[in-house]
Amino acid sequence: MSPALQRRLPLLATAAVLAALYVTACLSYDNFFSARVAANLFTDNAALGIAAVGMTLVIFSGGIDLSVGAVVGFTSIFVATIVEKHHVHPVLAAAAALAVGTALGAGMGALIHFFRQPAFLITLAGMFLMRGGAFWISTQSAGLTNPLFNRLSLWELPLTDRAALKMSALVLLAFLVLGGLLAHMTRFGRNLLALGGNEQSARLMGLPVGATRVGVYAFSGFCAAFAGLALMLNSGSGNSRDGVALELDAIAVVVIGGTLLSGGRGHMLGTLLGLLIFGVIQSAIRFDGSLDPAWTRIIIGALLLGFILLQRLLLRRLEQR
C-alpha cells in the first residue's frame, strides 16, 4: 500500500461506511432517497456538527474538550432567559453568550497550558461549571417569543419544492468550511497538528505552543456557544438540559471521521462524514419505526470501536517501517 493511500485510509474507510449505510437505508426504506431527508441530516444535527468542528481542532492538538455540551445548555437557557424575561436585544444576548463560551474556552486552555494540567480534568471542571450555571439560571424551559428569533427559526433556504435548509444547517455548513480552512490552510491549523503530533518537537521548532493551545480551546468554546444558539433556534425554546452528553457524541463523530484521538493526525472532511454517518443511522431508525432509538447509540458504539482499532492497526504498520 502506498504511504499516501495509507495516510488517507481512515478517511476512505469513513466514506465507505457512510456510502454503505446510506445505500442500505435507501434500499430498505421508501422515500429515504430524497433531497428532503438529505437536507434534514444537516438541520437535525446542526448543534452536534458545529460543536464537532471545534472538537476536531481540539483533538488535532492532542487535547479534549468535555465542556461543549454544558456550554450548549448554558447558552440556550441564558440567551432565552435574558431575551424573554429581561428583554435584552437578541443580537446583544447572542454576542454575550458567544463571549462567555469563548472566554471559558480560553481560560481552560490557559489552565491546561500554564499549569500543565490534563485537558480531561480542566474541561470536566468547565463542564460542571457551565451546566451548574445553566441550572442556576433556570431549570424550566423558556419558550421563544421574540420576533427576530421566530423569523430566524422559521427561515428556510429552499432547495427543491420539498427540501429546504434551515438557518441552523447553513450555520453548520459555514462552520465546516471555516473549520476546514483553519485546519488545513492556516499556520494555526498546522501548528495544532504539530502540537498534537509531538509537543516536544513543536517547542523546539519554536512554534507558539501556548497561544495555539489557548486559541484552540477558545475556538471550541465559541463553536459550542454557537451550537447552543442553533439548538435553541431549532427547538424554539431555551432549556438548561440542552446538549447533555453532546460532547461525547461530538468526540465519537470526530473519531469515526478518522481523526486520531491522541492528536496530530486528521481531517475536517472526516468530521463531516462522521456527522453524516451519525445522522443516517438516526434517520434510518426513525424511518423504520419498529427499532428502538437506542440502536443509534449501539451502532455508533460499535463503529467507534471499529475505527479505534483500525487506527491502531494503521499506526502499528507505520511504526514498523
Binding site: 504511504p3 499516501a4 495509507q6 495516510r7 490552510m185 492556516t186 499556520r187 494555526f188 498546522r190 501548528n191 497538528l193 504539530a194 498534537g196 503530533g197 509531538n198 516536544q200 518537537s201 513543536a202 523546539l204 521548532m205 519554536g206 512554534l207 486520531l260 496530530g264 493526525r265 507505520l318 511504526e319 517501517r321
Partner: protein, 507 residues
C-alpha cells in the same frame, strides 16, 4: 594548519551544578569549513558544553564568539537566530506531518496566517536539493527511515541560515550505508564553509570525516588536535586519561582464579539487535567474573539489556545451564535465575520513596508471585542478613532508600537481586557515582560472589576496575566483540589497544 579565522570561539567556559563542576574553563574553537569532533567519556562535559552552545544552559563563566561577534544564546530558538543549529539523535520533528511541512513549520510561506502550499512545497524541495536529497515532499515523515528523517532535520536546521551545525550523535541508530550518506552531506556542507560540530561514540567515524578533535574529560579540556596528528590509541588514552604504555610490558595485576571446565551458566550465540549490537557470542561460567570493557556506546549496556530480555533481540540463541532459554522479558530472565543491576540506579533500579526493606524484597516477591506473600518475619530476617553481610549503612530497615548514600543504595540494589539467589548476576557500572570506600566494598563483594559460585558479568568503563575484578574480559568496540583476555594477558594496556582498535598505521 589552516589559517581560516575561527568561526566559533569559546574561552574559559565554566558551568557548575549543585555539587558538581560540569565544565571548568573549557576552550573550544571551530573554524569555518571544518568538521570538528567533540569527544569524551561519560561525565566529560560534552553534553553540558553543547547545551551551553544551544542556549539550554547559561554558562557561569567564559565567553562565546560567533563570527567575531559575542553571543550569549538564551534559548534554542535564540541560538538558531544567532546561526547555531542543532540536530539531535532523537529526531525532533513531527512524524505525522509531511516532509514539506516539517521543513517549513513555523515559517510557512503565505500571508495573513494562511499557508501557501505551492510555495511551501517549492521551498521544501529547494531545501532538500541543497543536501542533494530527492524525496517526495508530500510523504509522511514517519514513513521514512530514521536516517532520512535525520537528513530532513538537517535540511530544516540549515534552512535557518546556520553558520554552525551541531550534530549530536546523529549516527547512533544508522546503518553503515546511511552513515556514509550522512558523511557525504557533511562534506558537502563543509565545502560550503559551514562549521560542523560532530559528537559521536564511534572512533572510526571520527577518523573518517573529522578534521579536528577536541577531547574533554571530567569537565575540563584535554586538548585540541588535528585528526591526522593523533593516532587512535593516543586518542583513547586521552579520553580515558591514561598514559600509553607498550602493551606487553605491563604488570599483571589480576589474581587468576582456577577455572574448571564446567558447563556455562549462560551461553549466548549470535545475539544481535539492529542499531544496538552486532552478532555476539558469549559464555559465562559459574565462579567467574567476566569483565565487559569498551568505550561509551560500544554496546556494553546493550548486551546486558539483550541478555536480560529488556530489549528484544533480532537474532540469537540463549542457553541457561545448557538448556535453550526463552527470554522475552525480564520476568523470564528472573525465573531462570538471572539478575541485572542496571547502570542507571536512580531511574531503573532503586524505588527512592520506599524503605530499604521494601526495596530489598521486591524482586523476590515478584518472583514468588502475589499469591504467596513473604511473611513479615521472613522479610525482616532477609533484611537483617543482607544489611549485615553487605554492610549496608542504614539506621533501620524501614528508612527510605533516598536517605542513603549512593554506595549504600547500590548495595540495597545488589541485595535485592542476591535475595532471589540468582545463578548469574549482571552488574552494569556498579561503582559509578559512589565514593572510594564503597567502591572497594563493592569490589570485595564481587570477589565473594565469585567464590560463592555465581557467574558475574561485570561492566565498567574504568579499565583498572575491569582488570582488578575480572577473571576474564571481553572487549567491545562499535558494537562488536573485538577481543578476549584472561590470565596474564588481561592488562589495562591490552584492553585499551583493543578498545581503540583500528590499525597502528594511524600512529
Amino acid at each position: 594548519m589552516t589559517s581560516a579565522p575561527p568561526l566559533l570561539t569559546l574561552r574559559g567556559i565554566g558551568k557548575k551544578f549543585p555539587g558538581v563542576t560540569a565544565l571548568d574553563g573549557v576552550d573550544f574553537t571551530v573554524r569555518a569549513g571544518e568538521i570538528h569532533a567533540l569527544l569524551g567519556e561519560n561525565g566529560a562535559g560534552k553534553s553540558t558544553l553543547i547545551k551551553v552552545l544551544t542556549g539550554v544552559y547559561a554558562a557561569d563563566a567564559g565567553t562565546i564568539h560567533l563570527a567575531g561577534q559575542p553571543v550569549r544564546p538564551a534559548s534554542p530558538k535564540d541560538a538558531e537566530r544567532c546561526g547555531i543549529s542543532t540536530v539531535y539523535q532523537e529526531v525532533n520533528l513531527v512524524a505525522s506531518l509531511s516532509v514539506a511541512e516539517n521543513l517549513c513549520l513555523g515559517r510557512q510561506p503565505g500571508r495573513l496566517g494562511f499557508v501557501n502550499w505551492r510555495a511551501l512545497r517549492r521551498h521544501a524541495r529547494a531545501a532538500l536539493a541543497r543536501l542533494g536529497l530527492e524525496l517526495d515532499v508530500d510523504a509522511e515523515l514517519g514513513s521514512l527511515s530514521v536516517a532520512l528523517q535525520q537528513m530532513v532535520a538537517i535540511a530544516r536546521a540549515l534552512d535557518l541560515s546556520a553558520k554552525l551545525l551541531i550534530l549530536d550523535e546523529p549516527t547512533a541508530s544508522l546503518d553503515e550505508k546511511e552513515v556514509a550518506d550522512l558523511f557525504a552531506i557533511m562534506r558537502r556542507l563543509r565545502g560550503e564553509g559551514l562549521g560542523i560540530v560532530f559528537v559521536t561514540h564511534f572512533l572510526d567515524q571520527v577518523y573518517a570525516v573529522c578534521d579536528r578533535i577536541t577531547v574533554l574529560r571530567n569537565g575540563a579540556l584535554v586538548g585540541e588536535f588535528a585528526t591526522a596528528d593523533l593516532p587512535r590509541l593516543a586518542l583513547v588514552g586521552k579520553m580515558l586519561g591514561r598514559e600509553i604504555t607498550a602493551p606487553d610490558h605491563a604488570p599483571v595485576t589480576v589474581a587468576t582464579g582456577t577455572n574448571e571446565p564446567t558447563a556455562p551458566v549462560l551461553t549466548a550465540r549470535n545475539l544481535s539487535r539492529a542499531g544496538a549490537l552486532h552478532p555476539l557470542d558469549l559464555d559465562l561460567h559459574a565462579g567467574e567474573v567476566l569483565g565487559l570493557a569498551g568505550l561509551l556506546g560500544s554496546g556494553r549496556t546493550e548486551t546486558a539489556r539483550l541478555l536480560f530480555g529488556l530489549d528484544r533481540r533480532d537474532t540469537g540463541e540463549l542457553r541457561v545451564k545448557g538448556r535453550p532459554a526463552r527470554i522475552r522479558a525480564p520476568r523470564d530472565a528472573i525465573a531462570l535465575g538471572l539478575a541485572l543491576c542496571s547502570e542507571d540506579r536512580k531511574t531503573e533500579g532503586i524505588l527512592t520513596n520506599l524503605s530499604v526493606r521494601e526495596n530489598l524484597i521486591i524482586a523476590l516477591q515478584a518472583r514468588q508471585g502475589a499469591t504467596r506473600p513473604l511473611r513479615r518475619a521472613e522479610q525482616e530476617k532477609l533484611c537483617e542478613h543482607y544489611i549485615r553481610t553487605l554492610r549496608i549503612k542504614t539506621p533501620t530497615a524501614e528508612t527510605p532508600v533516598k536517605n542513603l548514600s549512593g554506595g549504600n543504595q547500590q548495595k540495597v540494589l545488589l541485595a535485592r537481586w542476591l535475595a532471589t539467589r540468582p545463578a548469574l548476576i549482571i552488574l552494569d557500572e556498579p561503582t559509578r557515582g559512589i565514593d572510594i570506600g564503597a567502591k572497594a566494598e563493592i569490589e570485595q563483594l564481587i570477589a565473594q560472589l565469585r567464590a560463592d559460585g555465581l557467574a558475574v558479568l561485570f561492566i565498567s568503563s574504568e579499565l583498572d576496575e575491569v582488570v582488578r575484578n575480572s577473571t576474564r574480559a571481553v572487549v567491545l568496540r562499535e558494537r562488536r566483540r573485538v577481543g578476549e583476555f584472561s590470565g596474564d594477558a588481561l592488562t589495562a594496556p591490552r584492553l585499551m589497544h583493543a578498545m581503540a582498535g583500528g590499525h597502528q598505521a594511524h600512529g
